[in-house]
């Protein structure tokens, strides 16, 4: 009890994972874990406002679907950006790629000549 009294003003810095948060939103957590999430909310304005917002979603069972969809789109965007950058690099440095290509061609031709000479 006395320890709890002293803990009121201290921040635990403990983070709650998304699974526990989702369970909290669907009312599946036991009282002690529910309390743990709520303490986290009082210590963290970001979490508090986010949970208040998430509780306003009508179809809470769709939340995970929305999250997965947003994550998929994020990854797609990052991949596209990476591909664009690679294409840009190719356009900006065509001579470097041409040089590499020519070196490879010379190596292959050289190998074939040596093989012919050895025969």
């Amino acid at each position: 009890m006395s320890k709890d009294l002293l803990n009121i003003l201290s921040n635990s810095n403990k983070d709650i994972d998304n699974q526990k948060l989702m369970d909290y939103l669907s009312g599946k957590l036991p009282e002690n874990e529910k309390h743990e999430v709520e303490v986290w909310m009082t210590e963290n304005e970001f979490a508090n406002e986010a949970v208040e917002g998430l509780q306003e979603f009508k179809g809470k069972k769709d939340l995970q679907k929305y999250v997965d969809q947003l994550n998929k789109e994020l990854n797609l965007y990052i991949q596209q950006k990476k591909n664009r950058r690679e294409r840009k690099n190719l356009k900006e440095n065509p001579w470097m790629y041409l040089t590499v290509f020519l070196i490879l061609v010379f190596v292959i031709i050289g190998y074939m000549i040596i093989q012919q000479l050895l025969k």
Binding site: L5, E52, G53, L63, L74, I78
Partner: protein, 207 residues
């Protein structure tokens, strides 16, 4: 009937199962450091996905519309990627919260054509550390002061703070026990905690 309930539980579980983060062992700070080292957005992808759910909540909290909330998450991601390439961020979580909140306030302002309060970027500072208080005092003295401070709160705040922090009751249990609604309970706890800190600081300065 019994099977139906079981089926419903399974169905809910299926929908609410969160995709496991295979990079859970890497901290946010490490991901950010990796990004600053090679400027590869791959690291940001992992980092942002940890906050998608919270950002969705922030969007909904301010914009009050599910579709707009989803759109806002995408826009916040894009903005955050652009900004992180421009300058170094120290406290990612606070910074992301600030970006999200500013974005939503801007949307509301655009929507209503009204001037709303901007949150300054300087707010992205380290989370306030209250621990320093406890280091300054002996434990018994602290307890005494906390007890006195708790007594000085108004009746509602005192009741909610005691039930929440000392008796470890959930919001729901407190609403049932006190008859206050959820918003009142949350507000009494938040304000009670803030007032408790102010009273304690006053006592420390005087004593």
């Amino acid at each position: 009937m019994r099977y139906r309930c079981f089926y419903d539980c399974l169905k809910i579980d299926y929908f609410q199962q969160v995709t496991k983060d295979p990079n859970a062992h890497i901290t946010d700070q490490e991901l950010l450091d990796n990004f600053y080292r090679d400027h590869n957005n791959y690291w940001l992808g992992i980092l942002f996905q940890r906050y998608t759910l919270l950002l969705l909540g922030i969007g909904m909290k301010y914009l009050k519309n599910e579709e707009e909330a989803k759109d806002s998450v995408q826009q916040i991601f894009l903005k955050a990627i652009t900004e992180l390439h421009k300058y170094k961020v120290e406290y990612f979580k606070s910074w992301l919260y600030m970006v999200a909140k500013n974005h939503c306030l801007m949307k509301i302002r655009d929507r209503q054509h009204m001037v709303t309060t901007e949150i300054k970027e300087q707010m992205a500072v380290a989370p306030a550390e209250d621990n320093s208080l406890s280091q300054h005092l002996e434990k018994n003295r602290q307890l005494e002061l906390m007890n006195e401070s708790l007594d000085e709160l108004n009746k509602e705040q005192q009741l909610c703070v005691t039930l929440f922090y000392l008796e470890k009751k959930s919001y729901q249990q407190i609403t049932e026990q006190t008859g206050f609604n959820l918003m009142q309970v949350k507000s009494y706890i938040q304000n009670g905690k803030r007032n408790l800190k102010l009273i304690l600081e006053k006592k420390l300065n005087n004593g």
